[in-house]
Symmetry: C2
Subunit: 124 residues, 2 copies
DNA sequence: CTGGATCCCTGAAGATACTG
DNA sequence: CAGTATCTTCAGGGATCCAG
């Protein structure tokens, strides 16, 4: 980002972002965050529900992503019970909801492209 | 992507995409592709122009990204002259242009967030 | 001027097994 | 049930030098 020959950047909590894109990508970049948020867009879900909805994601990655998303304030985690079996519910926060239109834009472009250039097939 | 209990995916040129998001991200994911396309959105630019607009990006990365974007059909490369100094112009293709609204959505969300939560400062 | 070639490093992601 | 703990692999990215 260069304004009047001066190099500028956004500074948020000691972190520099050289453009709006970089800021957004820090929230939804990487391989899994978008799709995780996407599955939470309508209603809260349990860990095991997400796991079965995302069979390609290892438990470890799911756990890491959920932790990161909660840390960014995009989702909230609530746990019930002090003995196994535990129940843990994840839901979007209002801040997380503000990202859904962005993800929707990304998803629908990809969907349209994939449907035009390829085909929907069964896997596994 | 699970439909009627059946796991599905898009198949495009032997490549599998488990959702629209993954497809889009294969084009604009990573640290540099979005911003590179963004700078080409209005008019074609030379390698050296892009280099000075993107001072944080090494020449190697710029070169790699331009090659990848051209390979994906998002930009076109035209070179003039058969002796040094060469002139090489990059411009968006129509396909590349179709992604600009997506990038715009991403950028404006990040911009709004950064302006609310942080500040614009000079760097370097 | 516009890159290519090479080496290196780190962090993201995967596999597998284990636990309160 | 909802995660941790290790170990490993690999691609993205950085630094530097080289070439037409």
């Amino acid at each position: 980002m260069i304004i009047n020959g001066q190099k500028k950047a956004y500074k948020v909590d000691e972190q520099l972002y050289h453009c709006g894109t970089a800021a957004t990508m820090s929230f939804i970049g990487g391989k899994w965050k978008c799709i995780t948020l996407w599955y939470l867009r309508k209603e809260p879900k349990r860990f095991s529900e997400l796991k079965s909805l995302l069979p390609d994601m290892t438990e470890k990655m799911l756990s890491l992503q959920l932790k990161a998303l909660a840390n960014d304030g995009l989702i909230a985690r609530k746990s019930y019970g002090n003995k196994a079996p535990y129940v843990v519910i994840y839901n979007l926060t209002e801040f997380g909801e503000s990202l859904i239109p962005v993800i929707e834009t990304i998803t629908s472009w990809g969907k349209k492209w994939a449907e035009q250039k390829g085909e929907l097939i069964e896997v596994d």
